[in-house]
Symmetry: C2
Subunit: 339 residues, 2 copies
DNA sequence: CCAGTTTACTAAACCGTTTTAGTAAGTGTT
DNA sequence: AACACTTACTAAAACGGTTTAGTAAACTGG
């Protein structure tokens, strides 16, 4: 591997001069600059990023903490899209990622330590629980950080979230426009952000459309298929049942569809269903599932931009939270109701 | 951030002594060691990985090149599982990953440069095409590398692949045991490894079971749903058609199922289908799809182990290629044929 | 023509480690 | 008591860059 010394020797100048040429310092003569550049190109020289990090302050790398077994409510395909979005935007700016795998951070939650030790310029957290120990240190530090779909706010950290309220409202509005007035809901795992917000959003939307809803129309306590199945069975047993059911995840909706079929009923003829997440399978099951899509790539790109802003403006007050729009994808699981 | 100097000062020894304590050198007295360790714990000191990399040879990081738009034949969920497997095994050994996002490697294909510049101890390539420029440099270098589902072989590099032959054989055997003797195939995108091997495996398996197959029973030229749909329509138009069709991907199978249904036929009653990949949706479509599962997490773990071996035994002859078993997952898309 | 300024460069310190070579004190041998 | 050996430590160079302070040479103005 060629070093800056080799280049300096070949160009007949000092290493300082080479460094200045590379970093665009003004106090270098035109011919010298020219000469050095030629050698750099000719030798295919690239500065050692490690040495650069140690010497300078910037490492041009971003720490990535991913919990692949997150709190329920995050689906599988989630990470892929976000990473891809992060990569596109941060890659353009010359950043690489340090994906922290070393298990020590999981056991001890020493996120900040890991970041310092690898000297990353910023960090992205995905699927990291709010209560995770070690997170406060990050929030109190001056490390630029962004939390994906989180609600942490710190000195130099922001979070990027989806607008759950809007997602639910669009779903309810769709039901409403189709003539549905009796709307139920199968909820996900309690006490976590998506559940809380989607539930709250549900009530808000009902109010907006002046609808009421019987307490027994709200069931469910997990994001999994099984919970959707159980929830729908409960609903079907009711004497006065809703004509449309909003499911807080697609998995729930899949379970619900199973229960509907098992009861000898048909979706959307007997019951309209909307899911949440827009998993791949929504297009393939029958009926094709109407659902709320969250743009994961956009999430990644937005997070990246926020992070770059935090890194480049060390003393600006950070925007605390960025809310992304979501979109209802209409397919075949809802029918028009003629009242 | 605490440095080794701080610790040395606090302990009243030289930095060399602290370094030796940390790295377990023998020429340190028991009391000194004890004292230094106490201070390290008390101060929660962790050595700077960057400085360590620059000084020593090992950086305890692994380069990761991921092409999210790979040649057709790799499905979405693929990467997630492999990364998770890599993470588990390499994380245990104290490695972190450097995920190369900086677009310069894509445009110029300078994989090796990127690795040298970040001083990674090894590299993993996923979805990287065999013809990619810059790959030869890697293969000729002494950089430990492993190619996921590839067929590159280099000085210090191995590849980890799935046994396509076995996968197809299991599928055909399943058909055979159910009584099928007329078996067709819908192929994927031509001239890439999975297609070549699955096609070859198909003929091998037919020979093994002494079956013959009309040329017009082999159709298809892409891994996508649309291709499966078209392929199946072709097959259904034949006067003498197969009773079972092996699809080289699940997407193909989904398209095929659509064509079957559209023709007023039913799977598995009129036609048995087997897919390949075990996508999530196989469990949710109707009929639930019998398919070949490739264990992505196992792939990641195996790759990790191979890489660690390459790193730790710099002069051992590397095993050139590691073949992983695959497994037929039997669901509802094949029927027993009474002859 | 000389003091002051500008230009274009370099030497050397520094970043936080590891590692080699060196050394002083203690131990054992004769 | 003189010698070699061992033990337990340290100074300093090295890794490959950046950056500060300094310095000759060239240029400027009065």
């Amino acid at each position: 591997m060629k070093t800056i010394k080799d280049i300096a020797k070949l160009a007949g100048v000092s290493v300082a001069t080479v460094s200045k040429v590379i970093n665009g310092y003004p106090d270098i003569g035109a011919e010298t600059r020219q000469k050095v550049m030629e050698i750099i190109v000719q030798e295919d020289y690239q500065p050692n990023a490690i040495a650069k990090s140690l010497s300078g302050k910037q490492s041009h790398s971003i720490g990535l903490f991913i919990n692949y077994n997150p709190t329920p409510g995050l689906h599988q395909a989630f990470f892929q899209g976000v990473i891809s979005g992060l990569e596109k935007t941060l890659g353009l700016c010359g950043y690489d990622f340090v994906l922290f795998a070393d298990l020590r951070w999981r056991e001890q939650g020493n996120f900040l330590q890991k970041c310092r030790t690898r000297q990353v310029d910023g960090a992205v957290f995905m699927g990291i629980n709010k209560e995770e120990p070690g997170l406060t240190e990050v929030l109190e530090s001056d490390l630029p950080a962004v939390f994906i779909d989180g609600d942490q706010i710190g000195k130099r950290s922001v979070c990027v979230v989806w607008n759950n309220y809007s997602g639910v409202r669009q779903a309810i509005e769709h039901f409403y426009n189709l003539g549905h007035r009796k709307i139920g809901m199968i909820k996900g795992y309690p006490n976590i952000k998506p559940t809380i917000e989607r539930t709250e959003g549900f009530y808000q939307a009902l109010r907006q459309f002046s609808l009421t809803c019987l307490p027994e129309w709200i069931v469910g306590d997990d994001y999994l298929e099984a919970s959707g199945y159980q929830g729908m069975r409960q609903l079907l047993r009711l004497s006065s049942r809703p004509t449309a059911v909003f499911c807080q995840s697609d998995s729930i909706a899949v379970g619900a569809l199973k229960a509907i079929e098992e009861a000898g009923l048909k979706c959307p003829d007997d019951l309209s269903i909307i899911g949440y997440d827009d998993l791949d399978l929504c297009k393939y099951i029958k009926p094709r599932l109407t659902t709320v899509r969250q743009d994961t790539v956009l999430m990644g790109k937005t997070a990246a931009k926020a992070l770059i802003r935090l890194i480049n403006n060390p003393d600006s007050e950070p925007t605390k939270s960025m809310v992304l729009p979501v979109e209802l994808v209409v397919r075949d699981s809802c029918r028009k109701l003629y009242i």
